[in-house]
């Protein structure tokens, strides 16, 4: 396999990991407009809960399930108790979710300690396959597949149901949505919890790929999620997916050929996209 193809595949795999974090944020931030700085912490919680259950039961599937449920619960509580009064108020959201981020991260340290925890791949997904005679890890193929499934799933959910438009309408004018007979509170709770659940799900999937967890793992990955959402167009799912893959690929190539500027590449790309097309690659002008 040529180096280029290898880099490309790796970039896509990395992109799909970014997407798994970004997809939940795309609901919460992209659709509901909540500046959620605690998203990464939910992602981390998902990963930790997933790991704990995986280690205890030996079943990765159960780990995924437990992590996702954990995320949903955290998201539900977060929305109900804290976020609800502050829709549309970015300033309050920032402070609030930063606070939640600290609390959740410290919570992880309380339960699992501050040190690295190894996250092994499930046996079935370990190892490499040869693609054009070069090795490529099976787990990475798995993440690409999961990323695709999630994209399709969320897309179907939003296009087949009224969720998408109710949320977009609800952010702009919750009163009017209520007056049309929709319990907008409940819809918001559900979607927020769903976003958190997706983040947590992403955490469990990403865990083995990272190989180990540390409590700040969420913070480290959350910025990228924000970036791809902006690049793809806020509130636009295919856009977030495209942005993820783009960032994944560009970062992989840059890291390889020009590591000195690789750190800057995602933010620089975001700045360029915003200056060139502020509404994002797939976004529509508002």
């Amino acid at each position: 396999m040529s180096l280029t193809l290898n880099l490309l595949l790796n970039g896509i795999a990395m992109g799909s990991l970014i997407f798994l974090i970004a997809v939940g944020l795309s609901l919460i931030f992209g659709l509901m407009g909540v500046m959620n700085f605690a998203h990464g912490a939910v992602f981390a919680w998902g990963a930790y809960v997933g790991l704990a259950v995986y280690n205890a039961t030996g079943s990765f599937l159960l780990g995924i399930l437990a992590g996702t449920v954990g995320g949903i619960v955290i998201g539900w509580i977060m929305e109900r108790v804290f976020v609800r009064p502050f829709y549309g108020n970015h300033v309050a959201q920032i402070l609030l979710t930063l606070g939640l981020m600290i609390v959740l991260t410290e919570g992880i340290k309380m339960v699992w300690g501050p040190n690295l925890l190894g996250f092994e791949k499930p046996a079935a997904l370990t190892g490499v396959v040869d693609i054009l005679s070069d090795p490529f890890p099976i787990y990475r193929i798995f993440t690409i597949g999961v990323g695709l499934l999630v994209l399709i799933g969320v897309h179907l959910l939003l296009s087949r149901t009224r969720f998408g438009i109710i949320i977009r309408a609800g952010v702009q004018d919750p009163e009017m949505v209520q007056a049309l007979g929709i319990n907008v509170r409940r819809v918001f709770s559900v979607v927020f919890a769903l976003g958190a659940g997706l983040a947590a799900f992403g955490g469990v999937i990403a865990g083995p790929s990272f190989g180990s967890l540390h409590p700040d793992i969420g913070m480290a990955n959350q910025l990228n999620a924000f970036i791809v959402i902006v690049i793809g167009g806020i509130g636009n799912f295919p856009g977030a997916a495209l942005g993820s893959v783009l960032i994944g690929i560009v970062q992989t190539f840059m890291a390889f050929y020009l590591p000195d500027v690789a750190m800057a590449v995602s933010v620089a790309m975001m700045a360029l996209v915003l200056i060139w097309k502020p509404e994002g690659i797939l976004g529509v002008r508002r």
Binding site: M35, F82, R84, P85, F86, Y87, G88, N89, H90, V91, A92, I94, L95, L96, L98, G99, L100, M101, I102, V103, T105, E106, G107, K109, M110, P174, E175, Q178, V184, R185, F188, F226, I227, V230, I234, D260, M263, A264, V267, A268, M270, A271, L274, I275, P278
Partner: protein
């Protein structure tokens, strides 16, 4: 009208006098250090409030200017080994901040809301990367230690008064700005940008000016910060520093200017207090968590920040018909 209460000069005068007395009633050098850092950070916070509270733009890159100030003092003093270059360094910082804010503003102010925030975040990140890559110049993560500052500043009491004066002057200056016709225009821009445009104002120019003033003030506070720390490293360009500014203004009360002083005080002392408790009580072992809880509590119970909420309560009692925000309306539903 509504700013009257807290810009009450008498009240501020009393506070100023009280602060002036601190060095004479307390011999704690550490308390003075803490207060000095509160004063410096408060200026930084106020500069941010001009953007957030008065112009209505959320910058995630404010630390660029703080960092510029901090580094220009750090680098110039340590390279020249001339403590008196401090003033030159601050001048350079201010001019540099003006130029860079202009450039960043022109590139980023075309877009709005979150998009603006994200562009500024990107710029801050670039500054951080440059500072950490260019380590021969900036010392990278390990930073520049042994910065020699004018001996005057080694006397903590003198420094205290300089910092207090700095705060007072900057406060008066910014207050003047926000109450000037210019400042009023900024507030109108915050409320409804298109409409301001249609009233014959060149909105971009106002926003740029706001960004530049804010950047210059932040650069000064960054410069003085280095004088206090005698050390500077890449942390001055991290998102954390911007978040500090954001937190100080929100905690104190957005759009109150003086709130940033309260915010800086609350955050600095709470930080110190919680982290000290951690060494005494096992309960506070994870003290950062209490810090997080503090933020949550402030948002939940002081939705307009400390000063903002007090002010709102006060005004409501006075019965003038000023209160009630749009947020409240949606709150009743959500």
């Amino acid at each position: 009208m509504r700013t009257k209460l807290f810009n009450n000069n008498l009240l501020l005068g009393i506070m100023l006098v009280a602060l002036c007395l601190v060095p004479f009633v307390s011999s704690s050098k550490f308390l003075l250090t803490m207060l000095i850092s509160v004063f410096i950070l408060a200026v930084y916070g106020m500069s941010y409030d001009l953007l957030l509270g008065y112009t209505g733009i959320v910058s995630f890159g404010h630390t660029i200017f703080f960092g510029l100030g901090a580094y220009s003092v750090g680098i110039l003093l340590s390279k020249t080994k001339q403590p008196n270059m401090l003033w030159v360094a601050i001048l350079i910082a201010v001019v540099g901040a003006a130029v860079i804010s202009l450039i960043i503003g022109i590139l980023s102010l075309r877009v709005k809301d979150v998009y603006f925030s994200m562009i500024t975040l990107a710029f801050a990140e670039l500054f951080y990367i440059v500072s950490s890559k260019w380590s021969t110049f900036t010392g990278g993560d390990d930073g520049i230690p042994y910065i020699r500052v004018p001996t005057f500043f080694n006397d903590r009491v003198k420094f205290y008064f300089v910092a207090l004066a700095f705060l007072a002057v900057m406060y008066l200056l910014l207050r003047r700005v926000v109450h000037s016709p210019f400042g009023r225009t900024l507030q109108a821009i915050r409320e409804n940008e298109q409409r301001v445009e249609s009233l014959g104002y060149h909105v971009l120019r106002y926003k740029l000016a706001s960004l530049m003033i804010s950047g210059c003030v932040a650069a000064m506070s960054g410069g003085i910060w280095t004088v206090l720390q005698k050390y500077v490293n890449t942390s001055v360009f991290t998102l954390d520093r911007t978040i500090d500014a954001l937190l100080m203004t929100i905690v104190g009360g957005v759009g109150t200017l003086f709130g940033a002083v309260l915010g800086a005080g609350v955050i600095t002392f709470a930080h110190e207090w919680f982290s000290s408790l951690s060494t005494q009580y096992p309960l506070f072992e994870r003290w950062l968590m209490f810090f997080g809880i503090l933020y949550i509590v402030i948002v939940m119970f002081f939705p307009q920040g400390i000063l903002g909420t007090i002010r709102e309560k006060w005004i409501n009692k006075g019965g003038s018909r000023n209160a009630a925000s749009e947020r409240k309306r949606s709150e009743s539903v959500l």
